[in-house]
Subunit: 490 residues, 2 copies
């Protein structure tokens, strides 16, 4: 070490001893001198710095007294093992240690916190008219039944199963229930080896984005589409491309050329809620086969669709090129986080291995509780109740919008847990959002669903958390907000 | 489309009509002809193929009769929208449609299923002497207490909280308990903004590997070290490098030059179980500061260490360059999957956003149950019981190995839930593994912990699932297996 360089700076009015002491503490503080390191002999340092040897000895002894150095009879002075911590706490070196802190902004490989996404106020439950999406209505959650199932999952033999570290396997009882009870309702028949339990359908998208997308691959994402699907594939190795949507859902056309994967929401296109008709589905599958493309079907509200007559796209898939993602979040509450992926065994095998590295399995006590819930037949009744409640709300909101927001155009849907509205050209959704909140109305501005927000502006009214009888009032309050925005116009 | 090329192959003994029909069905089956596509005029095709026009018309009519084509009065013949599915089902084209199936092996961007890792037989609970690691002993899991906490987490107001979709936030009650009760035991004091709930400490490694590691970065992984840590960082954008370990843990030296991150297990080095002494810790921190490196401290059995006197490396960190990963898996059972990450707020913020994209939050019902469990003070008693049980087992295994396996060298540790043995040079761990299983003894061969297995061979005896009173017998049975391996030698 170049000691002369280390001890070179002397501030105005500082004694030579003070400058030396501060320099050594500074070097300890920023790590240039490390614990246990031997200090140069006083004679050597005196020569290098150009001071009397006694000056160096006095500085060393002062540093021993202050705990930075230790002196040994024969071998000289060493940096104390706690000196680093001491030095950092020392005010006089605080300016020097700042560079020792990691500069995190320069370290991130990705910065997902900067991604656009849909957010809602944390206190949304305090709003009288929460037209938001993705929340279950806590009143509809079957607490008593879930409590019983949860208790049964805590029997000794069940605990012996789930308390263990099943690094790779899912609860076979849950897989069985999903294969027997959930999937066939969507026309999907899968073997257990073709099913993986995920932490919600979004987790399935993430696993696939990491597993399948290579640097040269381009993934088609509906535009407008699910914001986090776009964000997830932005994190993958490949590229993404927006695919336009019309009133029949994802559109076929030249924009599909060269895509290797397409994420599609055929049942209820997110966010427009339109349903893809059978003919378009067949054409999409035909195209996928011709071009060797894989379709990722996100059936994010499969269980609560009350227009459940149309089977999944996956049910029409004859050569295993549709991967189906489902979830129980809309039935069992999102907080429980249970979803599933149906895919060819080779894909499930790799997805399972990736999931093992990410976090091993999905919490097994929840898997077992959900398995019991399904096995005891509680799901069908709950689904019926949820569908009925959503149907009432959907009818209420459609009727109210037709009356009170006549110049808002509603995207044609046959159901679902939200509606999608196109605003009149004189209404700015951001201003409307603010005016609505003043009236205790929450909705979701539509821009977040677009990679490139268009000139026409949209809003989404979610139905999962607002009771049907409050919807007419809520829409009237929203219409009030529209009037205010208009009256504020210059 | 080159029709002559499409319809070119005629098998021996096949009529020209049969060959044409089969070719068209094959092209429909593998997607070269897609639904709705217009067939060429019979005159055109007849010329291209070199047959009479009536032959083509006969083939078209046959295909209409069989549902592959539809004919319209004026415009000619089109591929029926269901023809693809029909063709796939047709036996005669089964050979031709195989290429329509996605070839998954060519699609994977990563193939984590091929990674080496530690596995154990699924039926490990049937072994009398399961010297395995990472499982809790189900007998020690406090079912009754957990059941009570679980019930309390299912009260209406608690459900109102956790049933909702908290896309980004953790349960504030759990964060508070971790900050107040868990972390201070390790000398770590963190604000809530510096803590993220993970699905076990491994999940923390995964989040960091994706978040922080850039293509030019190299990550140091202990050698030997935790297999899945190596695998996780193999999936990152950067490179990994093995860092040697001695009896004081991770070694400082030139192999650290240029590393940007180091994953370190100072408390109980995985798998050797040695503890890093204070002086080495300080030197490591000093080195990290000097070189602007970030240390990732994996305290994977923080709560159950019975030699808990030494605080975490993180407690000595003065400039926020140690990220601490902890877990409650060893206390609350791995199946519940609750861990935590302590890091500067900037890191937690991005990790939270990444977790949101991966799977939103960790299941909130489990978070709330764990929070109640901690808040009601059940953790300390449980930890005491677990530590006492592990201490008994550790003493039993050390004593038994000294007596019955005298030529196996035990790595010097002061506790922990496993021991690490070096085999005598004449013992092949794979042969020993097989001989041991015949005696109902399970252990873990050590090679999986090395990126480059060395000439000296090791085994790990895990203690988390075998009762203390069965350990002496188990070690004797293992000694029997050693004798058998020796007697089998040529």
């Amino acid at each position: 070490m170049n000691w002369a360089h280390l001890i070179s700076h002397r501030e105005t009015g500082q004694t030579i001893q003070g400058a030396l002491r501060q320099s050594i503490i500074g070097a300890i503080g920023d790590g240039r001198l490390s614990a246990g390191q031997q200090m140069p002999p006083s004679r050597t340092l005196a020569e290098q710095v150009g001071v009397a040897r006694n000056t160096i000895i006095a500085v060393y002894e002062e540093l021993v007294a202050r705990g930075y150095l230790i002196s040994t009879q024969r071998r000289g002075y060493f940096v104390d093992r706690n000196a680093g911590a001491l030095a950092v706490n020392e005010n006089e070196v605080s300016a020097k240690i700042a560079p020792a802190q990691a500069i995190w902004s320069e370290r991130f490989a990705i910065t997902p916190a900067a991604f656009r996404n849909i957010s809602k106020p944390a206190n949304w439950q305090e709003y009288r008219y929460p037209f938001i999406y993705g929340q279950v209505d806590p009143e509809l959650f079957p607490i008593a039944v879930w409590r019983t199932c949860s208790r049964d999952a805590l029997g000794r033999s069940a605990v012996n199963y789930w308390a263990a570290d099943h690094a790779v396997d899912d609860d076979p009882l849950l897989i069985e229930q999903i294969c027997r009870q959930i999937l066939p309702q969507h026309g999907v028949f899968a073997r257990p080896e073709e099913v993986l339990i995920t932490l919600g359908s979004q987790h399935g998208l993430y696993l696939l984005s990491q597993l399948l997308v290579r640097p040269d691959d381009t993934v088609g994402i509906e535009e407008p589409g699910y914001t986090d699907a776009r964000n997830i594939f932005l994190l993958s190795r490949g590229q993404i491309r927006g695919v336009p949507v019309d009133r029949d859902g994802l559109r076929l056309g030249p924009w599909l050329d060269g895509l290797r994967y397409v994420v599609v929401t055929p049942a209820h296109q997110c966010p427009t809620m339109v349903t893809m008709p059978n003919q378009r589905r067949q054409a999409l599958l035909d195209w996928a086969r011709t071009t060797d493309t894989v379709l990722i079907e996100d059936d994010y509200e499969g269980e609560t669709r009350f227009d459940a007559s149309m089977p999944a796209l996956k049910s029409m898939d004859r050569d295993g090129r549709v991967i189906y993602l489902g979830t129980l979040s809309k039935v069992l509450a999102p907080g429980v986080r249970i979803g599933f992926m149906v895919a060819p065994e080779a894909v499930i095998c790799e997805a399972r291995a990736l999931r093992r590295l990410m976090h091993r399995s999905a919490p097994l006590n929840n898997q077992r509780t959900a398995a019991i819930f399904l096995a005891e037949g509680h799901c069908q009744g709950l689904v019926r109740a949820l569908r009925a409640a959503l149907h009432d709300r959907w009818q209420a909101v459609c009727a109210a919008v037709a009356v009170d927001l006549p110049d808002f155009q509603r995207s044609q849907s046959t159901g679902g847990s939200s509606i999608w509205l196109t605003c009149p050209s004189d209404i700015d959704p951001q201003k409307l959002y603010a005016a609505a909140r003043e009236r205790s109305v929450l909705f979701e501005p539509g821009d977040a669903f677009f990679a490139h927000p268009p000139a026409t502006r949209h809003i989404r009214l979610g139905l999962s958390s607002i009771p049907a009888d409050r919807i007419p009032e809520g829409v009237r309050a929203l219409a009030d907000a529209v009037r205010q925005v208009r009256s504020d116009l210059p």
